[in-house]
């Protein structure tokens, strides 16, 4: 039974054999393969830049949502103090929604960070190998007979082809993660744009009311409302009890 290691190894070999081809003339293989190496390096650099952009967007959103949570809680407090429980509830519902969005953002930012490190490491390994390949091919061409040079070049090309396959996979996986992240960021921005997370004291249209109605009142809202009532109304309550 072939194990995971030998199967993966076979897949990687098949990948780079297809990529690098099997030209009869080793110098053709060399030039072509060097060109492909440069392309792969360009790809990995682009991948790193994309991850960094996604990470920044995520960080901005986190900050914005955190500010929103603080602001909405403050507004709920003020609304309740003014005797407007309905508005306090609306603000707390929005706060819960903002918190929902915040949940997991840290984890995702950490995942992006890991992708970034992995890509940067891949880029370093591949560029070091590309340089080694470039200097070795000159030595090989100069020192060996055609047949031997061909064999040695084949070996070196295999080594570098494998690194390229590994880098290719790393780029693809980072791309998947980045796309997921962008989709999520887009969804959060849409929520904000639709007014769902906006300042509740701003004049609200019927669209906003409908969206608010769609947000089911969670236990969190009820609990917090009870808690705030306790804080804000404790004076009155005591009066009632005492009176």
């Amino acid at each position: 039974m072939a194990g995971l290691m030998s199967r993966t190894s076979a897949v990687v070999k098949a990948w780079y054999s297809k990529l690098l081809g099997s030209a009869e003339d080793p110098s053709v293989t060399l030039d072509y393969s060097y060109e492909r190496q440069r392309e792969m390096l360009q790809n990995v650099k682009r991948g790193v830049a994309d991850v960094v952009t996604a990470k920044k967007r995520l960080e901005l959103q986190t900050t914005k949502l955190e500010q929103e949570v603080v602001k909405l809680e403050d507004q709920a407090r003020k609304a309740l103090a003014a005797g407007r429980e309905d508005l306090a509830r609306a603000a707390l519902e929005r706060k819960a929604l903002a918190q929902q969005q915040l949940q997991g953002l840290d984890e995702q930012a950490a995942a992006l960070e890991r992708q970034q490190h992995q890509l940067v490491d891949s880029e370093r390994r591949l560029s070091t190998k590309v340089e080694a390949f470039r200097s070795q091919k000159e030595v090989i061409k100069a020192q060996y007979s055609a047949a031997e040079a061909s064999a040695r070049i084949g070996e070196a090309a295999s080594g570098i082809g494998e690194e390229m396959a590994d880098t290719g996979l790393a780029i693809e996986r980072a791309r998947d993660k980045t796309e997921q992240m962008q989709a999520r960021a887009g969804a959060i921005e849409e929520l904000t744009a639709a007014g769902t997370l906006e300042d509740f004291s701003a004049p609200g249209g019927s669209q906003l009311d409908r969206e608010l109605a769609q947000i089911s009142a969670s236990h969190q809202v009820d609990d917090e409302l009870a808690k705030l009532k306790g804080e804000v109304g404790s004076g009155e309550k005591q009066k009632e009890l005492g009176g």
């Binding site: 897949v11 990687v12 098949a14 992995q118 070996e155 295999s158 082809g161 996979l169």
Partner: protein
Amino acid sequence: MIVRLMGEGQYRVDESLQERLNELDDQAMAALEASNEIELDQRLDEMFTLVRNEGERLPDEDLSASDAVIPPSDLTLEETRELMSQEGFIPDLPSE
């Protein structure tokens, strides 16, 4: 034997290490066939750790090809299957 940890680099491993890797590899393969992702991830993590700790890291400029390649443990079961099945899980370089 030279082993590649995907996403991390290459290591030279001796025979005794190779035997232990093969045992873990069999268990990982059985876990994959049984669709047991937790077990599969654990075995792969053990393989990574074993190679990292006891193998000899090859310098980046070494151009040797590996004799064995260990896939990463953070793939889903489905992704690992796709990787094994040679169906273009590793994307081609876009032709310019």
